[in-house]
């Protein structure tokens, strides 16, 4: 692990939702960290709790969602203990977000420029004229042609890719320390996806912004991230540097995910799908949460495995891996 300063540290985060059908534990005991300027991806299928984790960091959960336990330290401050007023100073200013669906995430009756300018005027003491110039520079930076014209356009007049560029410009507007990108390319065409990812990557390097990328797509991860966190049914099941994950995946779920993603070098013989679905948070098995879908499950898997560090910076939550290590010793 590189010696660097920790920017965000999530410890034992637990987020529950109160629904008519009872309490839904969406995130159970999730811990991870992000260093300054680092690009981290959280990967998982829908229902794994990855989006809830990101909304918990921003404290933007819907009324029914509640952080039950844990801490989220950002630049030394525990976000969970901050007042709503102090939290507002962090949102958009120090941590910004890029959402999945750029059309519905932009206000349809407000011009693009106004929407970006809004956060600048909110967090910085600038005059409107300066803010406008800043916005136009930002639009330029994210590769939008004729930024003056786009400034006064409404979102519906832009293409999907342009809209997501606008969202990125909006996220960058106050020079945040961290951008959380929640499935930023899922709603876009494949060709546009690559463009958006490279913009995101380049700008974060240029501006020294850390990125927390939430995605279900390992292809996207490979493109952007330094480090990967794999989540399954509300838990972290594996966490490692990008190369370790791709070359030496340990958890059966990670392996299955990799096998279900096409690779460009045709090294796979066939593309496998993972049987079954993520268990609903209401009926999570008591032992290993991947038990029902795992090809290697055995008797011991009926007890809950712990997240264990197997090599430097590589953590796995699986009995089999522990056994393998134990056997080696």
């Amino acid at each position: 692990m590189k010696e660097s300063e920790v920017l965000l540290e999530v410890k034992n985060l637990k987020t529950h939702f109160n629904t008519i059908n009872g309490v839904v534990p969406s995130v159970e005991d999730v811990s991870f960290y992000i260093n300054k300027g680092e690009k981290v991806a959280i990967v998982g299928e829908s229902g794994s709790g990855k989006s809830v984790t990101s909304l918990s960091i921003m404290r933007l959960l819907s009324e029914t969602g509640k952080i039950i336990d844990g801490s989220i330290h950002f630049c030394g401050r525990n976000l969970i203990e901050l007042s709503e007023k102090d939290m507002r100073k962090i949102r958009g200013n120090e941590i910004a977000m890029v959402f999945q669906e750029p059309l519905s995430s932009l206000n349809p009756v407000m011009t693009v420029g106004k929407q970006i300018m809004e956060s600048i005027l909110l967090h910085q003491k600038t005059r409107k004229q300066n803010a406008k110039q800043q916005v136009i520079d930002l639009l330029n930076k994210v590769g939008i042609p004729r930024p003056e014209k786009v400034f006064s356009s409404y979102p519906h007049l832009l293409s999907g890719g342009m809209r997501q560029r606008v969202m990125i410009a909006m996220a960058l507007s106050c020079q945040p320390k961290l951008i959380i990108a929640d499935e930023p390319t899922t709603a876009l065409d494949v060709t546009i996806q690559a463009q958006i990812l490279s913009i995101l990557k380049e700008l974060s390097e240029q501006e020294e912004v850390a990125i927390l990328l939430i995605t279900h797509d390992l292809g996207v991860v490979a493109e952007v991230a330094d480090r990967v966190i794999v989540m399954y049914a509300g838990q972290v099941v594996e966490q490692a540097e990008i190369f370790s994950i791709f070359d030496y995946p340990k958890h059966p779920y990670t392996k299955a995910l990799l096998n279900s993603t096409p690779k460009l070098d045709f090294s796979q013989t066939e593309l496998l799908s993972i049987e079954g679905t993520v268990p609903s948070p209401m009926e999570i098995p008591t032992g290993c949460r991947f038990y029902d879908r795992c090809d290697f499950s055995s008797e011991i898997c009926k007890q809950s495995p712990e997240l264990k560090e197997i090599t430097d910076g590589h953590q796995v939550r699986c009995w089999l891996v522990e056994e393998a290590i134990d056997n080696r010793i």
Partner: protein, 304 residues
């Protein structure tokens, strides 16, 4: 632009239909001369009237005559006021206009905070109270509300004038009376619109920028909820005018409503006809404006 022209062209047949129906009614329902003159009119007066209306000519010619007179703004002499009908009506227009504008402003001022509050506090006691009050506001006939307000504020508390036009204080009760039904309707509408908008993705985006809950709701949410409100006001202009007519009678407000009702009782046909045309043009104009306003406020339909 083409849309505006198209809409303007649609107004012409509408005015034709109105003029035709008014003409038919006046002719079919009996001798217009008898209708248009007081009951004690002399034979000479009747004869003079018949000639001036061209009643000796065929019906089509009569309609043409009627139409050309209407277009010139000539609705005939009012026998009550002994002068042309149109100027009498136009003189009363500002009072009615004032009442309507005040009513619309009051209903917007009441309904926006209540509708939004009710949506934010959904299914709480506050929501129940606001929703209940707005159903009640819709159910009350406005003339009764007017009388009750008068009873409380003018008769018992004696803090507001009983009737007629004058200072701003005179406007308070009539405006509330006229605006209540609309306020109730708008509150209900805003509540359901707002409930819809609150769950939109862009509301979450706005919060992720660090805006306070209040700014998110009022700057981002309300703007999106207001579009249907414009349509609703436009659709209800006609009902609002109808309500204003009755309110004017309750509060002796010297507008068109009072004029037309006294003209109906006096059988002053010229004035009644002029009132109908003036009100129709007023309503059509208001709807037309609302249509354009809607297009200005909602960027999405500008290019459709």
């Amino acid at each position: 632009m083409t849309y505006i022209i198209k809409k303007l062209f649609q107004i012409i047949p509408v005015l034709f239909i109105i003029s035709f129906v008014v003409f038919i009614f006046v002719n079919v329902s009996g001798d217009p001369v008898v209708l248009m003159l007081p009951e004690d009119a002399s034979n000479e007066e009747i004869k003079a009237m018949q000639e001036s209306l061209g009643l000796d000519k065929p019906v089509i010619v009569q309609y043409g005559l009627f139409l050309s007179n209407v277009m010139k703004g000539q609705f005939g002499q009012s026998f009550v006021y002994k002068q042309e009908a149109l100027p009498i009506v136009l003189e009363r227009l500002p009072a009615t206009f004032e009442l309507m504008i005040a009513a619309i402003i009051i209903s917007i001022l009441i309904s926006i905070p209540l509708g939004v509050l009710s949506a934010i506090k959904r299914n709480t006691f506050i929501d129940l109270f606001i929703s209940g009050t707005s159903v009640l506001g819709k159910a009350m006939p406005n003339f009764w509300l007017g009388l009750m307000l008068m009873l409380v504020f003018s008769v018992y508390l004696q803090i507001l004038p009983v009737s007629s036009r004058g200072s701003l204080l005179h406007l308070v009760l009539p405006a509330i009376t006229t605006g209540t039904a609309m306020a109730a309707e708008l509150t209900r509408m805003l509540r359901s619109q707002m409930l819809d908008v609150l769950h939109q993705d862009y509301m979450r985006t706005a919060r992720s920028k660090g805006l306070s809950h209040f700014s998110v709701v009022y700057k981002h949410g309300l703007r999106n909820s207001l579009l249907p409100v414009i349509t609703l006001i436009a659709l209800n202009i006609s009902t609002l005018v109808g309500g204003a007519l009755v309110t004017e009678v309750v509060f002796a407000w010297p507008g068109i409503g009072q004029l037309v009702i006294s003209a109906v009782h006096a059988r002053d046909m010229a004035v009644v006809q002029a009132c109908i045309f003036v009100i129709a043009i007023f309503v059509i104009g208001a709807n037309f404006l609302a249509d354009i306003l809607y297009r200005v406020v909602d960027p999405r339909i500008k290019y459709r």
